[in-house]
Each structure stands twice: as C-alpha cells, then as structure tokens.
Symmetry: C2
DNA sequence: CTGAAAGCGCTAACAG
DNA sequence: CTGTTAGCGCTTTCAG
C-alpha cells in the first residue's frame, strides 16, 4: 500500500471545501457558510451551490464531527435484531429521535458478550452522540464501560433492574408483575381444567414445579429452544396451561402442543411475554404479557435526548407497568375464531 | 462512587492524547504508538497504559476517521427492520463483514422515500466505509445518489433488477422464476381441487385473473394489508390456492382463510415468498419461495469488501437462483402435522 | 458580507 | 525507540 497521496487510481480524490472554494472563486469560509445556511449574499450562494453541484461535492462527516463535536447520530445496541421485541422498542426510539433530527443506527451483537462490549466501547467513542442499549444482563464489564462512556447512555431492559449499580438512566418494566397478571388470568379464567388448589399450593410451596422443563430453556429465548423444551414437557405431562418466557417460545409451544394432540386453547392455554407483532399473526392468536416495549422505547429516547442537551441532569430510573393482552390462546371459552380474532391489534398500538 | 479524576461533571473536557501524554510524561506520538500496537519499549507501554487507565481515556472516533480515512464501519439500509427478510440478509452481511473487522450498522427508513434518500446521502458521507442498501424500487434520485456516493455501495434486491441504469454492484434474484416454481407446484401437487384446464387457460389468457384482489395490496407488504386483501378475496370467491407476495401476507391469508372456514391445506393451499423465519413458526407451516436471502447477503458483503479494497473493480451483477421450500400449507396430502412438521428448517439454513 | 487563520484529536512522516 | 511536526476536512472567531 503505497500511501503517499492516497489512491486516486482512475479517480482524482474527492472534492473538499477547498476544491469547491476554488471552483467558485471564493473562500472556504464562504463555502462553509452557504452550506450551513448562514447569512450570505445571493450571488455568493449561487456561486457556491453551482460549484457544489458540478463537483458532486458531499461534506466529510468525520471532519464535520471532529469540529462540531456532534455526529447527529444515535445508536441502539441489541442482542438480536431479529427479535420482534427489540423491533418494537427500536421503532419507538427511532420515531422520537428522528423528530429531533437524529439518525438512528442499530447494531446487533448476536448474543455475543465480547461483541457487545467492544460495541459499547467503540460506539460510544463519539461515533454517535448517544446510545441506547438493551443488554440481557449487566456484568461488571458493562458497568465499567457505562461509567466511562463519553456519551450519554440509556439502558432499556425487559426485566426489573436489580439496582444496576451504575448511575445511568434506566427504563425497565416489572416483568415479574406481568407474569403474575398472566398467572392470575390463567388460574381464574380457565376453571374446570385446572386443579386449582393443588396448583396454588404448588406455586406457594415450591415455586413453579410444573415448569421445570421450560426453565431449562432460560437464556435461550429462541423458537428452536422453546420448541424442544415444549416437546420434552409434553412427553412427560399434559399441562392445563403453559406460561412461556417470551412470544417466540410460546409460538413454538403452540406448535408442539398441536403436534402432541393438544388443542389450544380448549385443552391447553398458552400465554407468552412481550406482546410482539407475532402474537397477532399466529393462529390461534397469542395472549401475551405486554412489557410496554413501545413506551419504553419512547421514554428511553426522550431520556437520551434530554441528557444530550443537559448532561448534568440527575439520573432517572423508571419502570413501565406491564399489561396482560388476552387473545385466543387463553380465551375463557373454547370458542375462538371469528369472535375474538381479527389478528389485528385491538386498541392502542402500545406493545 | 468517587472516581478519582474522572467524572468532571460540570466538566473539564474529556481527555485526549494530549492529556494522556502529559500525565504519562511522554509525547503524543508515543501514546498513539502504544495505543496502536506499534513498537514501543516495555516501560513506555506501561506508562501510557497507566495514564490511559487512570484517565479513562477513549480515542475520539471522529478524529481517527478523519486522519485514517476509514471508519471501520459499514451500514445496511433497509425499509423496515421488522421485516424478517431483511433480518436474514442482515445477519448474513454481518457475519461476513464482522469477520473482516468491520462493525455493521443498520438503518431503517420505514418506507419513507425522503428518509431513505437523506440516509443514503448522509450515511455515505464517509460516516461509514461502505453501504449495502435494499431499496424497494429505484428512482432517479437513487441513481443520482448512488452515482455520487463517495463510498462503495452494493444494492440487494429481492426482485430481478430491471437494469438498474447505474453502475453499481447488484445482487438480485429471479423472483418471477420463483413464483413460477410455486405455481407449477400448486397446479401439479394439488390435483382434484383445481380445475386445471380452466386455470391454465386463465393464466395464459389473462394473467392471473383470480388474484386481482391480492394485487391490490402491492406496495404494502404488511400483515395488515394482506389480511384485509385476503378477507376481500374470500368474501368473493373460494379459491383452491393462493400465491402470496410475501410471507407476511401469506400468514395473514392463512388466518383469514381459517376465519372464513377454509382449512389449510385441505381446502386451500397457500404459498408465500421469502422463506422467512416466520414460515416455520406458524401452523400449519408455510410453503415459501426462497429468494436466497442469506446467500444474497453473503455475496453483497463480499462484493462490498472487495470493492473497498479495490475501488477500480468492474461492477458486478449476480442473480441468485430462487428455490421452492414446500411445507405444510401446500402439502400434497391432506394429512399434515407430525409427519411434515417440526417447525424447524430442514436441510440448509440458506433462506 | 467575506476572507484569513486557528484549531478539533489524531496519525504518520521525519528527525534525533 | 522516541519526540516534533504537519496536516486530514471542516467550522468559526476575528478582522477587513
């Protein structure tokens, strides 16, 4: 790589303010002014725009950022872009930040811890003006990186933050409460199928004794893992209801149930968590605990923008209330279908 | 958490190489060398690392990019991050580019043309070293922007490129051929349900006369649009098979069919397009035309990396062969369930 | 209203 | 092996 004057093989190096200024016969300062909409004479403006047009000039973002100290970009770092939960959060963040003139970049770490850390570090190295991150769990390394981050960071999680241990803005939700809502619903609205007393006692005495197999999938919130766990479960017992850790697992459980000869919801009620777009698409549609993804995203975005504007702000931690969205998969009556289901969201779009 | 000298809230500016050099009692050049792993003495290395540690120093990406001319970042611009097709492409791009040491940023334009253009322009302003874009359709503005782009761009589309009209690397697939495969499959494997002769004639004479209602949804490749179109369709006729423009629409059609009292596949065969992750999740699982998303992503990534390395390369356009993946929704026999379906991908993971 | 000039933070020659 | 120095491309005082 002979580096010398760059590498303009067939091409002369791309134009700079310099080039534009020369072609326009004005100073670089004037070019900059025109480009940034600062006061300039009619003639000047025309000359500069002309030159810009002719050269196909585009300002260099790196140089501009260096000087300005801002990039006009924000980032959202997630484990898995494919997960519908993050999609909902992301859309919310984006709509808020875009309105404020920022571009949102999404970066996926694919559940790799090292990648996540390197991302957290490098993205915050002023490639962006701020960062929203949805980590699965917070390690000491995270804490360290968050503390050092030269740009504002907001953490969005789906589960209650167990006292993050760092001073950061945090938006969480009480997923435990959400699951409780779902449990109450299952117990109350699906009577006759469930041995209520034993169930309640079991819950009280040993935690969730009949869910041990599903617990095996913890940490792997994927369709595949859910499907296998559900198969194992149905090979052993025929439960009356299954509470799944997320929608992907719930949908997988629905399939496994059908294959095992269980009808949903007549024989088996199923509830998922996250209230993703998926829940309204499957048949029967899936009851799910909404963790307020859209709302969390919106709040996170607002927090981030506010902190960018005013870095000294005290750190805030809010928790969004979970909400149970009942659909066909746990409908009280065996009759599901045209009555309940259009497959569309009913009411607010706040997932 | 008093952090020593970090955390100057009302704040002294963040540390620079300058600061580090002073604290370490060495020159800025030495700091840079140590940080970039260039030859340095043991003692020097220690001193610098020490100072870096104490200051919590992180290099400024903008400055580095400005100097180096590279950002080590690539971007993938899509209309809708929520669409599973793009997710597959994205994963493929990322795994290739990450191996080459680049970070991938995803940017969603939410089907907004203006946003897409502004994104295309600004992202390519050297915020990234290269760009993959999946536009829905190419306008003159696109052509203009692509022509001017100061960084390499690769276009990935799902449909055959109608001669893009610009010199760019392009990765497409012959979706028309894909649909033909699906049509042949539907006609051949679902006999007895279909009035073959009339159907074939109809195809030959008038295009796809019985699909007019679905055609209404063109341009809106969403679940909601698909659901409504399917409802309209089933209110008018009871088709033997429906070929849907993508998986989202197909899944919506499945629900509408069920609600209309049509069993899938016994009464109605359904085939989607894109072979997304969704296709294996729904019940019955969805037959779908694979447009080779993963492969397209991989090729696009390779093209981009190669062009970054060697800008003078001639522009390439490749087309990936489509492939029909038959699942339950169009299974030849009315018997579906445990036989066909695990809900898992069978064979290659090449969507 | 416009031009000259001083850097933003970093890397890469070039000397020493 | 280490320090000095000249910019990368742009914005922004400060004079004119």
């Amino acid at each position: 790589m002979a580096h010398l004057e760059a590498d303009p093989p067939p091409g002369i190096s791309r134009p700079t303010v310099q080039t534009v200024a020369e072609l326009a016969g004005v100073s670089v300062a004037s070019v900059s002014r025109v480009l940034n909409g600062l006061p300039a004479s009619e003639a000047m403006t025309r000359k500069v725009r002309d030159a810009v047009e002719r050269l196909g000039y585009l300002p260099d973002a790196a140089a501009r950022s260096l000087k300005a100290g801002r990039t006009e970009q924000l980032a959202y770092a997630v484990h898995d872009v494919g997960n519908p939960t993050y999609v909902t959060v992301m859309r919310a963040i984006e709509s808020v930040t875009r309105a404020a003139g920022y571009r949102l970049l999404v970066s996926s770490t694919d559940a790799d811890h090292d990648v996540e850390m390197s991302l957290l570090r490098s993205l915050s190295q002023r490639h962006v003006d701020g960062l929203v991150i949805s980590p699965i769990r917070i390690t000491d390394e995270h804490r360290e990186a968050l503390r050092n981050a030269p740009v504002p960071v907001v953490v969005v999680t789906g589960s209650t933050s167990e006292g993050l241990g760092v001073e950061v803005d945090t938006v969480t939700t009480d997923s435990r409460l959400g699951v409780e809502l779902a449990m109450a619903h299952l117990v109350d609205t699906v009577p006759g199928r469930m041995r209520l007393e034993g169930y309640r006692n079991g819950l009280a005495n040993h935690g969730l004794p009949r869910f041990d197999l599903l617990v095996e999938t913890a940490g792997e919130f994927t369709y595949a893992a859910g499907y296998q766990a559900a198969q194992r479960l149905f090979a052993r017992i025929r439960p009356d209801a299954v509470m799944c850790a997320n929608d992907l697992i719930a949908v997988a459980t629905m399939r496994a149930a059908t294959e095992a000869g269980l009808r949903v919801p007549q024989d088996l009620a199923i509830v998922g968590v996250d209230d993703t777009e998926l829940s309204g698409m499957v048949y029967p549609s899936l009851s799910s605990v909404s963790l307020g993804s859209a709302e969390r995203g919106r709040i996170a975005a607002r927090f981030l923008l506010e902190r960018i504007k005013e870095p000294g702000l005290p750190h805030r931690q809010v928790s969004v209330a979970p909400r149970l969205v009942i659909r066909e998969s746990s409908a009280p009556t065996g009759d599901h279908g045209s009555r309940t289901g259009s497959g569309q969201e009913q009411g607010t779009d706040d997932r």
